[in-house]
């Protein structure tokens, strides 16, 4: 993991002290709200529906056990004993007091964390494949590049007042787990014939009210040229991106309006023109950062695990959890444990202080102290020996985190919605709860197979409903919440945006509607045909028919 150097630490500490003085000036009235608001936002503190909300950055979703424990302590000392892991691999606290926030930030700084750039029109927290560095299918760990971009973009003077916020995602694997086609910039690693690393640069993806799949502007950018090239993209965006209308200010609109080819030409022109750091300098910096991400000392283990197999035979529930929640590790005898924060009837992404500590303990004992947050609002123990799985499962189950539903219908992604969010038009959490209750039988979930349900409480799409195999968007009409359903979205390599089915459903109807959709699928699916494959084959008519045809 990356560790702060002296410069990083001094900077973050100073920033906390600045905010402490600014906060006390606000509380004494020396600063007005108008003056203070941009300052608190720059430090991650929002004013939400019920009060302040603090968003803490977890760079590319990687944190260690000590940091997780500190997050737990903060939730108990200053909040209500829980936190919410978000679709951007961050954590949010829903009830911090303004007067406590400087202390919270100081506690975060003591474990090399902060809340800078989690708001505002700047380059936000870089997200990454949550299996980075350990996935069996990966070419190489993308996090050194994510860290390089983090350092480059942190408080970059030229890019701290962009037309709109800017999100970057990276993956080093062919299977896209980081939704790189739905970010302002998505980066996917490739190897050339000589085995050298390069990056496919995808620009202009996004969700919100105008969902778009990003376009590739460079198929293979040599790794050492990355920052120079990103800088050229940012310049073109900074210069030509619209500032007259906040809904048309993201880079996707610029690309849409100028055309991908012309945009690409502008970037190449800027790239050829602008001076940039030499390739050698960037290689050196990348090597320096990469050293922090050196893999741990793995043991040489056997692929045959008679003990594990025995446990699985004895206990079908454990066997199921291993099937659904453990991902393929690149080292023999190891696995990637995906911890579901989606118990049936629970709040997607919420974890209590106790649960955070349990995960921290497990990470320390079994996963080289490392933890990941996934954009599916789950947690990951990346480096686990298969022989330890049973004990981990036992501990997780005792603490309400043993759900065997990763990637299945119960693993619902939902934004906070109208229960917490000031921008929401409808609630999303109760919808997630009613669906996960309805589909709580694990053997049924497994039979249904991979199926992603995503719920957003407004058109901003923080719940990524456009890319849900089933997407649900909460809206309001005449003082009542209702829910629009889309089918066929997908954020993987073969990305697609879901299409609206028809008229919306009330809160009471929605779980039933999902039931009808699932039953329709089960009735028409081919041999081992997944939900998404089925939708792509038959389109929406059978589903519309089942949902809307008069009985």
């Amino acid at each position: 993991m990356y560790r702060y150097d002296e410069f990083d630490q001094t900077f973050v500490d100073q920033r906390v002290e600045q905010f402490r003085s600014q906060t006390s000036r606000r509380l004494s009235g020396e600063l007005t709200e108008e003056e203070f608001k941009p300052i608190r936002l720059m430090n991650g503190l929002y004013l939400q529906l019920h009060g302040y909300m603090l968003r803490v950055a977890i760079p590319y979703g990687t944190l260690n056990a000590l940091q997780m424990r500190t997050l737990a302590d903060i939730s108990e000392t200053y909040d209500k004993g829980y936190g919410h892991f978000t679709t951007r691999q961050n954590i949010q606290y829903n009830w911090p007091k303004l007067e406590d926030t400087p202390d919270i930030l100081a506690d975060l700084a003591s474990v090399e964390m902060h809340a800078i750039q989690t708001s505002g029109n700047c380059i936000r927290n870089v997200t990454a494949d949550h299996w980075a560095g350990v996935a069996a299918d990966e070419l190489a760990d993308p996090r050194p590049v994510a860290e390089l971009i983090r350092q480059w973009s942190s408080l970059h003077p030229e890019f701290s007042f962009l037309p709109r916020k800017f999100k970057v995602a990276v993956t080093g694997a062919p299977a896209d787990r980081a939704a790189v086609k739905f970010h302002d910039i998505g980066l996917r690693m490739h190897l050339n014939d000589a085995g050298e690393r390069g990056w496919e640069v995808i620009v202009g993806g996004g969700q919100g009210r105008t969902p778009m799949v990003g376009v590739t502007v460079r198929e293979f950018l040599p790794e050492e040229e990355l920052l120079g090239y990103l800088e050229a993209i940012m310049r073109v965006y900074n210069l030509f991106g619209r500032r007259d209308n906040k809904y048309k200010a993201r880079i996707k609109i610029l690309i849409h309006e100028t055309g991908a080819e012309e945009f690409s030409r502008l970037v190449e022109e800027e790239y050829a023109r602008a001076p940039r750091p030499s390739v050698e300098v960037e290689r050196k910096e990348l090597d320096r950062i990469s050293a922090y991400f050196a893999p741990p000392q793995y043991e040489t283990l056997s692929a045959l695990q008679p003990d594990l197999e025995g446990r699985k035979l004895e206990n079908p529930e454990f066997a199921r959890w291993v099937r659904t929640n453990v991902g393929a590790h690149r080292v023999t005898g190891y696995g990637i444990v995906n911890i579901s924060l989606k118990p049936a009837g629970g709040i997607p992404g919420d974890a209590t202080a106790e649960q955070m500590r349990t995960v921290a303990d497990l990470a320390e004992r079994f996963s080289h102290s490392e933890i990941r947050v996934s954009h599916h609002q789950n947690l990951v123990l990346p480096d686990v020996k298969l022989s330890d799985l049973h004990e981990i499962w036992t501990v997780l189950s005792a603490d309400g985190m043993g759900e065997a539903n990763i990637g299945l219908l119960g693993d619902i992604i939902a934004c906070p919605g109208l229960d917490y969010c000031a921008l929401a038009t409808a609630r999303s959490i109760p919808i997630a709860q009613s669906i996960s209750r309805q589909f709580s039988d694990p053997s049924r979930l497994e039979d249904i197979g991979p199926l992603r349900v995503n719920i957003s409480g407004c058109i901003n799409a923080c719940g990524h409903h456009h890319v849900g195999h089933i997407g649900i968007l909460g809206l309001e009409k005449k003082g009542k919440e209702f829910y629009q359903v889309t089918l066929g979205g997908h954020s993987g390599t073969d990305a697609s945006i879901g299409g609206v089915l028809g008229k919306g459903f009330s809160e009471d109807e929605i779980a039933g509607a999902i039931e009808t959709i699932v039953d329709t699928y089960l009735g028409i699916r081919g041999d081992s045909e997944s939900f998404l494959e089925c939708i792509r084959r038959v389109g929406t008519p059978p589903f519309k028919e089942a949902l809307y045809a008069p009985a």
Binding site: R26, L27, S28, G29, E33, L47, L49, H50, G51, Y52, K80, G81, Y82, N94, W95, P96, K97, L98, E99, I347, D350, A351, T352, A353, E354, L418, D419, Y420, A424, A426, R427, I429, P430, Q433, E476, G479, K480, E481
Partner: protein, 108 residues
């Protein structure tokens, strides 16, 4: 049933949602709020809000539409009903106190 406006804001120090009462105090209970039934009275409430913002007690004061039935005040919009009562979902480790406006919100 009385229909009118209530002034709400967030307390500056801790962000908690509050409502202006008849005695010019801020209460966390919407039922204790003063309900302005006339446009003039509502405008006066709004003015009080600005004054309170200037003295740094609250922030982001604004009027919401609400109805009073007996002792209970219920905002018209779902958003404001949830804001008055807290999340409609029992959050982990914490019990939401029962709130009549929320019961209405969920039933509506």
């Amino acid at each position: 049933m009385d229909h009118g406006h209530v002034l709400t804001a967030n307390r500056l120090s801790d962000g908690i949602v509050v409502f202006l009462t008849a005695t010019s105090a801020w209460s966390e209970q919407i039922d204790e709020a003063v309900l302005a039934r006339e446009p003039l009275a509502a405008a006066a409430l709004e003015k009080r809000g600005v004054e309170f913002e200037e003295t740094n007690l609250v922030t982001g004061a604004y009027l919401i539409e609400a109805e009073r039935q007996g002792a209970a005040i219920t905002p018209t919009r779902v958003r404001e009903r949830i804001r008055a009562c807290g999340p409609t979902v029992a959050y982990l480790g914490v019990h939401t106190p029962p709130c009549h406006a929320q019961a209405t919100a969920v039933a509506a």
